[in-house]
Symmetry: none
Subunit: 138 residues, 4 copies
């Protein structure tokens, strides 16, 4: 199973966090083309999040071409999703980074100060966060 971590208070809407994390899981191969996703009900219970919210994320993922519905069976990763999600992942991260860095520069920090801040954050977080989620039970 994939690895989800939802933070209800980080500004990003919950359904959007799910969308991104599914795309990221596809991008890194944790979810492979053709693979069946856990049902709305199961995921809802697992994440302690309302099923409507999960369903909305899944709709978005279908609209984005990452998932497709197999009638009666559920949602599977699209055949060509891996590459697309890699691209999506990169642009999502770039956009967010750009926003923070812009805000920092705009707020009077120098490039040097920002670099220092970022590098110390990366060091701090790397190792603390599992980089690949591998078969974490269901």
């Amino acid at each position: 199973m994939m690895f989800f971590s939802i933070d209800p208070n980080n500004g990003v809407a919950i359904y959007e966090q799910i969308v991104r994390q599914v795309k990221f899981a596809i991008a890194q191969g944790t979810l492979l083309p053709g693979q069946l996703l856990p049902s709305v009900r199961v995921l809802s219970q697992k994440l302690a999040i309302n099923p409507n919210t999960i369903a909305r994320a899944f709709q978005q993922l279908q609209a984005d071409g990452a998932l497709e519905s197999l009638r009666g069976r559920g949602l599977v990763v699209c055949a060509d999703a891996t590459e697309a999600c890699r691209t999506a992942r990169r642009s999502i991260l770039e956009e967010r980074l750009r926003a923070v860095i812009t805000e920092a520069l705009h707020g009077g920090l120098t490039a040097k100060e920002i670099r220092r801040l970022v590098l110390s954050q990366i060091d701090e977080l790397d190792g603390a966060v599992p980089t690949v989620a591998s078969g974490d039970a269901d």
Copy 2:
């Protein structure tokens, strides 16, 4: 005049964007203690944002001890706001950076890849963004 750039669709509430940008301006000395802020009405017109939204940001800034009200005259930067806003700025940026980096690590990027991404973004953006707003239009 101060430098504001509001994006109504970036997920952060407009009033919150204003709060942050005012704090950042105080942190970097663009707004000095005792200095009068542009009035709610003026700012409202300039940013094309409803006066109530501006007022809400200003109330928040008063609650946070960054601004104080001079009856009938307007709002001024508190005497001791500069240092507090520097601290606030740092923790706001750290928190946002932490979120993005965590998301990236979680999404399967290595610390090295993230580092590369960040450094290239900084290089790209630095120079393009004015670090101090000095008499920018109007």
Copy 3:
């Protein structure tokens, strides 16, 4: 249900009256930690006050650490709010009493006269005012 009495013309802002009365209710245990508050819409209708005004009071109460939001469900009393609200209640009342007594002394009344006035008012009002609101209508 809690007991509210709002007077739109008593000088104190409506939202501030709500803030105080909620804190008082928490202080005296009419509202217990974890308990769900009546919704903005319900309270708005009950008190014949605009929902935004209620919402503003609730936001203030959250900022003050008395309430916290359960997404999509409503607002509940914080676990540690009771004691804090007791303290808040005392200082609110002390401040108001101080103001009246100062005004009275300033206006030429002696301490003795004020004492007499206060004691007779207390006697008069005590008994007329329910000290604990228990299931009052609706």
Copy 4:
């Protein structure tokens, strides 16, 4: 000259504080019938308050029958004002006391607790506040 103490943040409007304090001064004989009040300009400067606000208080005092205008000379205390202001003073104070005590009872304090609170406040404030203002220069 009479003794004024204005607190811009005590909830009562400034002009209303002035109205009350003039009435109180008349009630206690600090201002006698026929006596000329300081001009708007003088008072404005003395209290560091905008002349409009003073003027508004004086209008109110005329409407209430406490002051009358002597064309070309200024405002004087009405002949029959002393007694009326005594009555007004008592009812103003009673009303404010009633409000605080009601709020306290409503908030779950017992009559006994309130009595204790009030008496300690009176003791604390009596002596600290000049009860009669006597010729405090111009």
